[in-house]
């Protein structure tokens, strides 16, 4: 990234946070330039939420520096809170209040920002304006939470797992809203463990594991770093009898990893790798029971880097 630290909306150096004996964040460095939508991708417990909460001023780091919009939490907390929009994981807003009352309350905390009705229109909750929060669906609640984050007209938006627990339609609806906010040129940091969410929304992605960023780049760069465009997954009757070393030597195969009785091959060209695989399996005398292929995704990047899946645990 050409954008230097001076222009970064978020600038993190050497961030560390330990809870009792668990190291949640382990020496994290990160720069997010203004106007970018950056995604922190990783499995549960990777340290994403701790990182984002330190950035939001909700958790204190053990060591390291965080600079947001050129400001720091220890000296400019009030100013920062005015200029950040925040959506926390699993906040339950008061069920007895209506959508409009909730937004009027949040609006009253900020010195500037749009009228609550405008934000209600923006997140498409006009019909629910006077409905109690307790009666909203999961997707509507999530959109209200987003509206609460937008009502102070933030320059920097933090979204912690914005679509976790939503059905596919509600997720797509929320993605569209976030994309609209991106178009306005604001900076976003979001965490997710859905690779498709990161691929769709984020210009750049940092893959986190065990409190560290283990890969950083655009989704395309990260997938390209696998050196493989496609993934072939198959299962064979007697997996134990399989000669994996022979498979790794096949033409176009970049990596082999066995997984719950299945085998994953990361390959460059399907038209070379699949016939070679079939030949090799018949040579080894193994019966094929299942064969699937898909284009490589961030999930495969994570599997390639750690040998585990994002949604394990």
């Amino acid at each position: 990234m050409p954008a230097g630290a001076a222009h970064a909306a978020l600038h993190i150096r050497g961030l560390r946070k330990t809870y009792e004996d668990v190291v949640a964040v382990d020496g994290l460095d990160l720069d997010v330039p203004a106007g970018e939508c950056f995604g922190l991708l990783g499995p549960n417990g990777a340290g994403k939420t701790t990182t984002i909460e330190i950035c939001e001023g909700l958790t204190e780091a053990d060591s390291g520096t965080v600079e947001l919009l050129g400001l720091r939490w220890d000296t400019d907390a009030d100013e920062l809170r005015q200029r950040l929009g925040i959506q926390l994981q699993e906040t339950q807003l008061s069920e007895k209040l209506t959508v409009h009352e909730t937004l009027r309350l949040f609006r009253s905390f900020y010195r500037q920002g749009p009228d609550p009705s405008e934000v209600i229109a923006l997140v498409q909750l006009e019909e629910k304006r006077d409905a109690r929060v307790g009666g909203l669906s999961g997707g509507q609640k999530q959109r209200l939470a987003l509206a609460c984050a937008l009502v102070g007209e933030p320059e920097f938006l933090f979204l912690d797992e914005p679509t976790t627990g939503l059905d596919p339609q509600a997720r797509r609806q929320l993605w569209e809203l976030i994309e609209q906010f991106k178009l306005a040129g604001r900076t976003i940091l979001l965490t997710t463990h859905y690779m498709d969410e990161a691929e769709r929304l984020c210009e750049r992605v940092g893959i986190m594991d065990h409190g560290k960023v283990i890969a950083l780049g655009t989704p395309r760069e990260l997938v390209a770093s696998l050196g493989a465009e496609h993934v072939v997954e198959f299962s064979a009757g007697e997996a134990a009898a399989l000669d994996l070393v022979a498979l790794a030597r096949l033409e176009g195969v970049r990596g082999v990893s066995p997984e719950n009785g299945n085998v994953l091959l990361r390959v460059g060209e399907l038209h070379q790798a699949v016939p070679a695989l079939l030949d090799e399996l018949s040579r080894q005398g193994v019966a094929l029971t299942e064969l699937r292929t898909h284009s490589a995704t961030l999930e495969d990047v994570f599997v390639g880097l750690t040998g585990r899946h994002l949604r394990d645990e």
């Binding site: 939001e56 001023g57 909700l58 919009l69 009030d78 100013e79 809170r81 005015q82 200029r83 950040l84 925040i86 926390l88 699993e90 906040t91 339950q92 807003l93 008061s94 007895k96 209040l97 009352e101 009027r104 309350l105 949040f106 609006r107 009253s108 905390f109 900020y110 010195r111 500037q112 920002g113 749009p114 009228d115 405008e118 934000v119 229109a121 923006l122 609460c148 937008l150 102070g152 007209e153 609209q180 906010f181 178009l183 306005a184 040129g185 604001r186």
Partner: protein, 381 residues
């Protein structure tokens, strides 16, 4: 960067709203403290259960206990007599309800508690003198349980009626004067007690539950992430409490005054000061209870442990004086005892704040100590 009212808003730009939307409503109404207070108030009035416990339950309690312990007109005692002659004589006594029964039926009624006394002619005297038992009255027998006060009273009344019917004259003229004045009845004692109990309950539950619930739902964490001034959050509880206090105190004292004619002898200003101070003291206790607790279950456990002993010893339903002298100093410094003593002195004896300084001092001390401690250890997440 900080003053940016003219900066194009992405939200507005998208909505096609050219000019920044002007302020709507008075400035005060858009103030964070005003909004927080309104929200507190709305959350309370939209909770039907809370409304029941704060407004309806004390009234039901007052009405129920007021009826159960009302000063009844002197009771009419049921008795039985076995001859028409005896019945006629006993009917002269207003406080007796006489019925005529056979000897066996009368004795069964006595055993079953349906009558307090059975009156019959004394067969030995009648046989000895050869009189007709159904007409004359030389001797009577009273059958009753002498451990039963009603039986003893009935015997005295019946004997007086029979002796008078037989011609006895009272030697000394006697008259009765009845005293049933408001201010010394049980309901007069009860209403200030219930008022104090209500002040404690609504402040501690209201404060404790709302805070713990907001913490449990991560709503408090979300609020702390906004520029909301934290003291406004706590202050909004005090303000909404004051709003509700007017209704709470008004309903209960109004009910007492209208239905049972419970007096309000002290000045209403003093009564108001007592209620506000009491409510704030209990609010501080509620805040302290809620300052770190993470779950509703834990909070309600602590609240019960704090409030239950006071319900019993602080003189809500019966005088705190009934407890041993040794315990009195401890009972006296409990906040509920202080507020109830002060409310009773104000409402029933007309005492003002100056005379009630010891109680005011106790309440203030609880408030200051609990509030200071609560702020020290309060957890915002």
């Amino acid at each position: 960067m900080s003053e940016a009212p003219l900066k194009p808003s992405p939200v507005r730009a998208r909505m096609g709203v050219a000019a920044p939307s002007g302020p709507r409503g008075p400035r005060l109404a858009r103030h964070a403290l005003a909004q927080l207070t309104v929200v507190r108030f709305l959350e309370f009035v939209r909770e039907p259960e809370a409304l029941f416990w704060v407004f309806v339950f004390p009234l039901l309690l007052a009405a129920g206990l007021g009826l159960a312990f009302r000063n009844r007109p002197p009771e009419v005692l049921k008795i039985a007599a076995v001859t028409p002659h005896l019945v006629a004589s006993l009917k002269q006594e207003q406080l007796l309800d006489v019925q005529r029964l056979s000897v066996s039926a009368a004795e069964r009624a006595l055993r079953e508690g349906k009558v307090a006394l059975v009156v019959m002619p004394d067969p030995r005297i009648h046989i000895a003198h050869g009189y007709d038992m159904s007409k004359d009255m030389l001797g009577v027998v009273y059958e009753y349980d002498d451990t039963n006060p009603e039986g003893r009273t009935a015997r005295m009344l019946a004997d007086r009626a029979i002796q008078r019917a037989a011609g006895r004259l009272d030697v000394v003229q006697s008259n009765d004067r009845m005293l049933r004045e408001p201010g010394s009845r049980y309901i007069d004692f009860l209403i200030p007690g219930l008022l104090g109990m209500n002040l404690m309950g609504s402040a501690i539950w209201g404060m404790g539950f709302t805070i713990v619930d907001a913490r449990r739902k991560k709503l408090m964490k979300r609020l702390v992430a906004t520029p909301m001034p934290r003291h406004h959050y706590l202050l909004s509880f005090a303000l909404s409490r004051l709003l509700l206090l007017v209704a709470e105190v008004g309903v209960l004292t109004g009910f007492g005054a209208l239905v049972f004619h419970v007096p309000l002898r002290g000045s209403l200003v003093d009564l108001g000061v007592l209620c506000v101070l009491g409510s704030m003291s209990f609010g501080a206790i509620g805040l302290l209870i809620a300052s770190r607790v993470q779950t509703i279950e834990a909070a309600s456990g602590i609240m019960n442990v704090v409030m239950m002993p006071m319900w019993i010893v602080s003189g809500v339903f019966f005088s705190a004086q009934r407890f041993p002298d040794m315990l009195q100093p401890v009972i006296k410094i409990l906040p509920l005892t202080a507020i109830i003593d002060a409310l009773r002195a104000n409402m029933l004896q007309g005492a003002g704040c100056v005379q009630l300084w010891p109680q005011l001092a106790i309440l203030s001390a609880w408030m200051v100590v609990c509030f200071t401690l609560a702020l020290r250890i309060f957890r915002w997440r």
